[in-house]
């Protein structure tokens, strides 16, 4: 056991100290964070150019109602100046000229003139504001005409927003708000993470065994420790390398994302406040608009995630993570011991990796129908269960199914470790012989 720890330490440290490992481990979270945050950030980067827009409003409908904001100012001009600008827009002072026609209430049209292409944001801003003012004006006229008291309030009250909530009934009949989308997203992410981890680190175990075999150091080492101790130390050591990498990814990823989000979010809160400010002064509240809604959605998502059985998901993620890895790593270690060349390794790897690849292929089908027979069987059969059960768990799986799946997986691991130990012992000292599966099966029954 003592020797296994020594081996484990070497396997772990030599890999963790590698430049490629350090670079991968540090760069991936930065890259991922950049990928998620950057688009939002870029979208948030408003242009900070100050612009003044000349407004000519013979209707006096919007006169002095167009609020300037930090960067976009409105300046009301008399008719004479308008005529000049209209003829040939050439101005150092103004970015554009906004003309409110006298018949705006019937035509719903206004025009904005500039010598430049007017930006999308400015067009939106102006359109929104005029729309609000005109709508308010029309509404006021209607209200005045009908003379019903408090009509304004009553009309506002008719605004409705329907959302269908999915509710999952718990065992004790308590209603738990759930979200199919979130369950799916978490299921995919967990399943895919396990797949990646098992594939990358399982292959690493195989390479490690092959390295020892081809460099011939294995004979020296197994004259000091039992072959099984060597294989065991290697599998656990490499598994810990994987867990280290993922832990660093999670910590760094969260830190970077929150850091960037705080940076970007600070800006967005400001704009949201501004927008609200503007709207309250306008006396228009039905527009209670985009930014606060987004905030609500985030809260809602956090709330919904909170409703998921997080401890179960996390603990089963770890369980399937570790067990799935050990299962495939022991196969891969056995293969590594049996072959002399990369080509032979590829050939033997294919049948072993098939179930893992198969589980990725059926991932979407399972997420769509997590209670179907395909999902059920694939989450019980140990070769596919690490990936598939993790896809199902966020949707809620009966306890007996999880327990059955875990027990079968554990039993299979014991079998696979035993088998790998047998094959490994014979394989590492076998040189210059092209082996096939039949030959390997024979090794299982060798005495020593």
């Amino acid at each position: 056991m003592n020797k296994s720890i020594l081996i484990l330490k070497r396997e772990y440290l030599t890999r963790v100290k590698k430049k490629s490992f350090i670079i991968m481990t540090l760069l991936v979270p930065v890259f991922m964070a950049a990928l998620t945050v950057l688009p939002t950030y870029l979208a948030m980067m408003d242009d900070k150019e100050e612009r003044t827009i000349a407004v000519y409003d013979p209707t006096a409908l919007i006169l002095n109602k167009l609020e300037s904001n930090e960067f976009t100012k409105f300046h009301y001009i008399p008719e004479q100046e308008f005529q000049e600008l209209r003829k040939a827009f050439k101005s150092e002072k103004y970015y554009a000229l906004l003309h409110i026609p006298t018949n705006i209430l019937t035509t719903n049209r206004a025009e904005m003139i500039s010598d430049k292409q007017i930006t999308f944001d400015i067009k939106n801003l102006v359109t929104n504001r005029i729309e609000n003012i005109i709508e308010g004006e029309k509404r006021k006229q209607v209200i005045d005409e009908t003379g019903v008291p408090d009509l304004e309030k009553k009309l506002s009250a008719t605004k409705t927003d329907i959302s269908v909530e999915t509710i999952k009934m718990g065992d004790k009949g308590e209603a738990v708000k759930s979200s199919t989308e979130i369950a799916m997203a978490i299921g995919y992410a967990a399943g895919f993470l396990i797949y990646m981890f098992v594939f990358i680190y399982g292959t690493m175990v195989m390479r490690g065994v092959m390295e020892e075999k081809s460099s011939r150091i294995v004979e020296v080492i197994i004259s000091s420790v039992k072959p099984f101790q060597l294989l065991f130390g290697k599998i656990v050591g490499i598994g810990l390398v994987g867990l280290t990498q993922i832990a660093i990814w999670i910590i760094l990823g969260t830190a970077i994302t929150t850091g960037l989000a705080a940076f970007v979010g600070g800006g967005s809160a400001e704009t949201a406040a501004q927008a609200q400010n503007i709207m309250s002064t306008q006396g228009i509240d039905q527009m209670a608009s985009a930014a606060p809604a987004k905030e609500n959605m985030t809260l809602e998502i956090i709330h919904l995630i909170g409703n998921l059985n997080i401890p179960l998901i996390v603990s089963s993620l770890f369980f399937y993570f570790i067990c799935g890895f050990i299962l495939y790593a022991s196969f891969m270690g056995a293969i590594g011991s049996a072959v002399d060349s990369d080509e032979d390794a590829q050939q033997l790897m294919m049948p072993v990796m098939m179930p893992l690849i198969f589980s990725i292929i059926i991932l979407f089908a399972v997420a769509k129908n997590p209670e179907g027979p395909l999902a059920f069987w694939a989450s019980i059969i140990p070769l596919t269960s690490p990936v598939i059960m993790m896809v199902r768990i966020p949707f809620g799986v009966p306890a007996w199914q999880i327990i059955l799946s875990m027990v079968i997986l554990l039993g299979t691991i014991l079998g696979s470790i035993w088998m790998a130990g047998k094959i490994y012992r014979t394989g590492i000292l076998m040189y210059g012989k092209k082996v096939n599966l039949k030959e390997i099966v024979k090794w299982l029954f060798y005495k020593n």
Binding site: L6, E211, I217, V220, I221, S224, N448
Partner: protein, 331 residues
């Protein structure tokens, strides 16, 4: 049939053998691989502080026997003793093994690797560092400590490997072709190290195809052919046993007078060279007669300059025994 020599024990010799312990003993070891017999009832006894040559053609079963001693594989049947008691799993810490096909982790640094291998052999980190320092200084290779193994030449890596084999001061060392890959200077260095280790009381099992080095350093040999032990004994006794009673005589004078009738049926002249002043011939003694009798006959005819009995080299013994044995197996 294995040829074993019962040592004639004088009372004094008997007395000393009490103190020369048998450090390792294998009795009737049988190992079969999927229909292929690797060892059939092989027994060897290795005395403490001696060098034991394990000889045999390729594929005879030497490596299998070595792996059994190292507990890398287990025999199908047979008994193994270490220091007079049955071999235990912990005994591997008392054994150092340098396999024929050797290698180190290419990407690992020399010092780290040597330390790791020493720790695997049960040494504490502190002891291992101390001991490594001693050996690295002895071989003047301190500068390699921080280098990766892939940066070393083959001979350099072999030296590192030698150190990692002996670092834990094992009681029993097993060297499989220890001199392959070394230049003559380093071969000599290694040979001296091995002899030095023997002087310090380490027992060495030495497997090689280089018969000259066997003659030079081995005390005792066992020859394995086609999974069976065919020869076993002290090296001088083995050579003595296979002597062909051939003599090389350098002389002055004429042997023309020395006719067959004089030599009778007892002697046979094999070669005769009269080209130079000092003439040479090889004479074979046919039936058991003493050397002195031959000399007596020769003295009457010629002036003897030198008279030397030809003892076969280990190379001759090896070839003779293996070919003879292969012939017997065929029939």
């Amino acid at each position: 049939m294995p040829v074993t020599f019962a040592e004639e024990k004088t009372p004094i010799a008997k007395f000393t053998t009490l103190f020369i312990m048998e450090i390792f003993q294998a009795n009737n070891i049988v190992k079969e691989y999927a229909g292929h017999m690797a060892l059939s009832s092989v027994s060897i006894t290795v005395k403490e502080a001696s060098i034991f040559g394990l000889l045999g053609p390729n594929g005879a079963g030497k490596t299998t026997l070595i792996r059994i001693i190292n507990q890398i594989t287990a025999p199908d049947s047979g008994e193994l003793f270490f220091e007079g008691r049955p071999l235990k799993a912990e005994d591997i810490y008392q054994i150092g093994y340098l396999p024929e096909e050797r290698g180190l982790y290419k990407k690992m640094k020399v010092g780290e690797q040597a330390l790791y291998l020493a720790q695997l052999k049960g040494m504490s980190k502190k002891d291992a560092l101390k001991s490594l320092k001693y050996w690295f200084e002895k071989f003047e290779i301190q500068a390699w400590w921080g280098k990766k193994v892939e940066e070393l030449s083959k001979g350099m890596a072999q030296k590192v490997q030698f150190i990692t084999t002996v670092i834990h001061q094992p009681k029993l060392l097993i060297f499989d072709e220890p001199f392959s890959g070394f230049d003559p200077i380093n071969t000599n260095l290694m040979k001296n190290e091995i002899l030095e280790l023997k002087k310090q009381g380490t027992t060495i099992i030495f497997s090689t195809h280089n018969m000259a080095s066997v003659e030079e350093i081995c005390d005792h040999i066992a020859l394995i052919n086609q999974s069976k032990k065919v020869l076993d004994g002290q090296i001088d006794q083995v050579r003595e046993k296979f002597k062909t009673n051939t003599f090389e005589v350098t002389y002055r004078g004429e042997i023309s007078g020395l006719h067959q009738h004089q030599l009778g049926n007892h002697f046979n002249i094999l070669e005769h060279d009269e080209s130079s002043q000092l003439k040479e011939m090889k004479i074979k003694l046919l039936n058991v007669q003493s050397n002195n009798e031959l000399i007596k006959i020769l003295m009457n005819q010629i002036e003897i300059v030198s008279f030397k009995e030809l003892i076969p080299s280990m190379n001759d013994v090896f070839i003779h025994v293996v070919e003879q044995n292969n012939l017997e197996i065929k029939q």
